[in-house]
C-alpha cells in the first residue's frame, strides 16, 4: 500500500505520535544544560541539507501579494477534529490551530526557536522561568492578551478531564504565578532548559481565559474562524487586526481533508483546491508534466523501520536479526516502494543531513545468501515468521512484501500480517515480535537515542540493552568538544546499526502538491505544509 493510504477513520497518525515523542524526548532531556544550544545548532545543519524545493524555489524571490482565497486539503480528518489545542491530534487540527491561534514560541524553518506571543522567555536556573508577553495583542473577540490567558491555556493541560495530549508534558509545570498583566513565572518540578521548545508545541496554543467551548476558535491568530464542522471543513477569514505586520496575505482560507490520495490529486488538478498535502510518489510522474502544479518536497529524518524484538523469539537469536538486515533490499525499497523519493539508510536513526551523521557507516548490502546462512545458523530457516505491518506506518506493507518476497526466494517464509491502522500504535507497535514503526525527525541524536535506544527508553522498539551505550549517551551530553562528541555519536551509530533490532532501510521524503499560483510555501523540517503553519505565509500570484 502506498504512503498516503490514510483513510478517514485512521485517527492515529504519525503527527500526533510524533509530537508525543518530541514531548517525551524533551521531557526526558530536561537535566541537560546545553540542549537548547545543540538544538539550534543541529537544526541549522539539518534544514540546510534537507529542504529541497523543485519549481517552488522560484517563488522565494517574488513579492507577496494580498488578497484572494484558497481551499487547501490535508489527508485526514474525522469527527474527532477539534479546535481545542489540547486535544489536537491530526495534521488537520494543527493547521487549524496554527491559523486561529498563536503559541508563545515557535520553531522556524531552520528549527530555531523564535518568539511569537512571548517577547522573552528567560531563566537563570532552568527551573524558574519568567515569560514576558508581547504588548497589544488582541483576541478575535477584541479582548487583550494577558497573563491570565496564558496561565489558563497552560494550566488546563494538567487537568485529566480535559484529555490533553500534552498532559504528561504539562505536569512538570508545577506552579504558575502572575507577576503582572504581561509577565508570568512558571516554576518547573525539575530544571529543564527546553521549556522554550516545549512551549512551541502545537498543543500549547494560547486561548482566552475561561474558554471551554471549542465549537469556534477565539485566538490571536492570523485568521478568524468563520465556520468549523468537524470531519468536514473549517473556513478562516483574515484577522484584520493581526499583530504580525502585513500578515496574513490571504483573505480567507478553507481547510478540508480528502483522505483518498487519488481524489486529493484530482481535486488539485481540477482546480477545486490549491494545495494537496502529501501526494503519493506514484502521482508525481503525472504531476510533473502539468504546468499548473508545483511540488514541494522535503527530505527529513522521517523513516519507517522494521523492528525485531531482541527479548523474544525469533529476535533473541542474533543471527536472525543480522540475517534480516541482509535480506532487506534497500535499493528496491527506495526505488520501487518509494519511487526514489527516499535516501538509503543504514539502520540507525541519525539522518545524513545531521552533522553527527557517521559517513563511514555504510548500509548493508542485499545479500540473500548470507542471510540464508545466518538464518540457518539461527535455526529459523523455513519457519514461518509473522511480520506485522499496517497503513499506519507509512509504506510498511510494501516494505514487508519486499522482505517477504526476498525471504520466499531463500526458503524463508515470512507471513505478512496487515492489521488495521486503527489502534495500530497501541496494539501492535512495540508489542509484536517483528513489526514496523514509523519515526519522525528529531532535532538531535541525543533525543533520538534517549527516546529510542537507551535501556530505559520509553520507545525502545527492539528492546536494545547496552550499559555501554547508556553511558556513552550521558558522556556525549556533557561533552562540549564537538569532535569528541562526533566521535562518540559515530560509535553509537555503529552500535545501533550492528546490534539493535531496528532495521531502517530508507529516509522518506514528503511531497506536497500545490497550484503554481500559490506562493510562499517553504519546506519546514518539522513536517509538510510548512510545519502546518503555511496559512499565514502563503499568497496567491496571478
Amino acid at each position: 500500500m502506498s504512503q498516503n493510504d490514510r483513510t478517514s477513520w485512521d485517527v492515529t497518525n504519525w503527527t500526533r505520535r510524533d509530537d508525543a515523542m518530541v514531548e517525551e524526548a524533551i521531557r526526558r532531556g530536561a537535566s541537560r544544560r546545553d540542549l537548547l544550544r545543540l538544538l539550534a545548532a543541529s537544526g541549522v545543519a539539518m534544514a540546510a541539507g534537507s529542504a529541497i524545493m523543485t519549481r517552488a524555489t522560484a517563488a522565494f524571490a517574488a513579492t507577496p501579494k494580498k488578497g484572494g482565497s484558497i481551499t487547501a486539503a490535508g489527508w485526514s480528518s474525522s469527527t474527532a477534529d477539534t479546535l481545542d489545542p489540547a486535544k489536537a491530534s491530526l495534521s488537520t487540527d494543527y493547521v487549524r490551530c496554527c491559523s486561529f491561534y498563536n503559541r508563545l514560541t515557535f520553531l522556524d524553518e531552520k528549527a530555531a526557536v523564535q518568539m511569537e506571543l512571548a517577547e522573552s522567555v528567560e531563566s537563570d536556573d532552568a527551573k524558574t522561568w519568567k515569560i514576558t508577553l508581547r504588548p497589544d495583542v488582541t483576541f478575535h473577540d477584541g479582548k487583550t492578551l494577558t497573563t491570565d490567558d496564558v496561565i489558563y491555556s497552560l494550566q488546563r493541560h494538567k487537568d485529566e478531564s480535559v484529555g490533553s495530549k500534552a498532559n504528561a508534558m504539562a505536569q512538570q509545570m508545577e506552579t504558575f504565578k502572575k507577576v503582572d498583566d504581561r509577565v508570568l513565572e512558571i516554576v518547573l518540578s525539575a530544571p529543564n532548559a527546553d521549556l522554550p521548545i516545549i512551549l512551541s508545541l502545537h498543543h500549547f496554543m494560547i486561548i482566552a481565559d475561561g474558554t471551554t467551548d471549542f465549537t469556534t476558535a477565539n485566538g490571536t491568530g492570523a485568521f478568524k474562524c468563520e465556520t468549523f464542522e468537524p470531519g468536514v471543513k473549517s473556513v478562516g477569514v483574515r484577522n484584520e487586526s493581526y499583530w504580525k505586520e502585513n500578515l496574513p496575505y490571504l483573505d480567507s482560507i478553507e481547510f478540508i481533508a480528502i483522505p483518498d490520495e487519488t481524489a486529493r490529486v484530482n481535486a488539485l488538478l481540477s482546480g477545486d483546491i490549491a494545495l494537496a498535502a502529501m501526494v503519493n510518489p506514484r502521482s508525481i510522474r503525472r504531476l510533473e508534466t502539468i504546468d499548473t502544479v508545483t511540488l514541494s518536497k522535503t527530505t527529513s529524518g522521517n523513516y519507517t523501520n522494521l523492528n525485531v524484538r531482541l527479548d523474544m523469539a525469533p529476535g533473541d537469536k542474533k543471527d536472525f536479526v543480522d540475517g534480516l538486515k541482509y535480506l532487506v533490499n534497500r535499493e528496491v525499497i527506495a526505488r520501487s516502494v518509494m519511487r526514489d523519493l527516499a535516501v538509503i539508510a543504514n539502520d540507525q536513526p541519525v539522518s545524513p543531513n545531521d552533522r553527527y551523521y557517521n559517513e563511514d557507516l555504510k548500509p548493508k548490502d542485499y545479500d540473500p545468501e548470507k542471510a540464508k546462512k545466518l538464518f540457518e545458523k539461527a535455526g529459523v530457516l523455513g519457519q514461518s515468521i509473522p511480520i506485522v505491518a499496517s497503513t499506519a506506518a507509512t509504506s510498511s506493507i510494501d516494505m514487508a512484501m519486499v522482505v517477504q518476497q526476498a525471504g520466499a526466494e531463500i526458503g524463508m517464509p515470512f507471513e505478512v500480517q496487515r492489521v488495521p491502522s486503527d489502534g495500530y500504535w497501541s496494539n501492535y507497535w512495540l508489542k509484536a515480535p517483528v513489526h514496523f514503526g514509523n519515526i519522525n525527525p528529531r532535532p538531535t541524536p541525543d533525543i533520538l537515542f534517549s527516546l529510542l535506544y537507551t535501556s530505559d527508553a520509553p520507545w525502545n522498539e527492539s528492546r536494545y540493552q547496552s550499559e555501554k551505550f547508556d553511558k556513552m549517551l550521558v558522556e556525549a551530553r556533557g561533552t562540549l568538544d564537538e569532535a569528541k562528541r562526533k566521535e562518540i555519536y559515530d560509535e553509537m551509530q555503529v552500535m545501533v546499526s550492528e546490534d539493535a533490532g531496528t532495521i531502517i532501510p530508507v529516509w522518506i521524503a514528503n511531497v506536497d502538491a500545490l497550484s503554481s499560483k500559490l506562493k510562499g510555501l517553504q519546506p519546514n523540517p518539522l513536517g509538510g505544509m510548512m510545519g502546518y503553519a503555511f496559512a499565514e505565509y502563503v499568497w496567491l500570484d496571478d
Binding site: 502506498s2 493510504d5 502521482s283 519511487r339 520466499a408 505478512v416 488495521p420 491502522s421
Partner: protein, 281 residues
Amino acid sequence: MKALAASARRRTGFHINTVGTIGAAIVLFWIVIAICAPLLVPYPVGKIVDFDFFGPMSQKFWLGTDYLGRDILSRILMGARYTVGIAFAAVSLACFVGVALGMIAAVVGGFFDTALSRFLDALNAIPSLMFGLVVVAGVGSSIPVLIMTLALIYAPGSYRFARSLAANTNTMDFVTVARARGEGTVYIIREEILPNIIGPVLADFGLRFVFIVLLLSGLSFLGLGVQPPNADWGGLVRENLAGLPYGAPAVIFPSIAIASLTISVNMLIDNLPTRIRDRSA
C-alpha cells in the same frame, strides 16, 4: 395447452442458450484459473520484476506491471483464488444458513418464524459495508473473518428469499399430504420443500455471489481484505488506482476481471439451463 406443455417437458435434459453458455464458460474459466493459479503464474506474485511501475503490456509482462513493478498477470491469476474462493465460500455459507433457517421458519411457523424474521429484518437495516467495516476493524482482516462477515451480511437476504419460497411450497398439497401422513419436519424440509425451491435458490445464489464479489472489492477499497502479498481483484484495483490517469493496465485488467466474473455469473443465472427454470416455475 396442458398436454402440449407436458409433452414438451417429456423431452428433458438440460437446454441452455448461447448467452448462458458463454456465461457458464467464463465462470468455469475463472474457477479453473482459481484452482490451477499456482501452476500458471509466470512470476511469483510478490516479486518485483520490473524497474518501472505501472508498466505497459509487453512480451515479458503480458498485462503490464503494478505500482511496485510486479507482474499483473500473475497477480490476477492468484487473485482469482481469493475473489472466487472467498465469494464462493461466503455465499455458500450465507445461502446454507439463510436457506436452512428460511425453510425451518416457513415450515415451523409461529413464534419462531416471527421472532427470527423480525430479528433478521432488523439486521438487514444496517448498511452492509458499514457492518463489514465495524467487524473487520474489530477483529482484524483474515480470510475466515472476511468469509464470516460477508456471509453474515448476506444471510438475512437469503433467509427472506428462501422463506417466502418455502412458505409458498409449504401450502402445496403434496406437503399437506406428507404432513397428514405424519412425516416429521426434517423430512418435509429435506424431501418435499428443498427440491422444489432449489432452482430459484440457485439463481439467488448467483446474484448474491455477484454482490459479494462487489462488496469484497468495496472492502478492499477501504483497505480491508486479503493479506499481502496476495490481493483479491478489488484489492488490485484499489492498490493500483493511482495508475488510472496513466491508463495503466494494472488497474484496467483487474477491473475487467471483476466485471467479467460478475457479468458472466449474471448471464448464467439469467439464462439458467431450462430444466432448472422449469422447477422454479
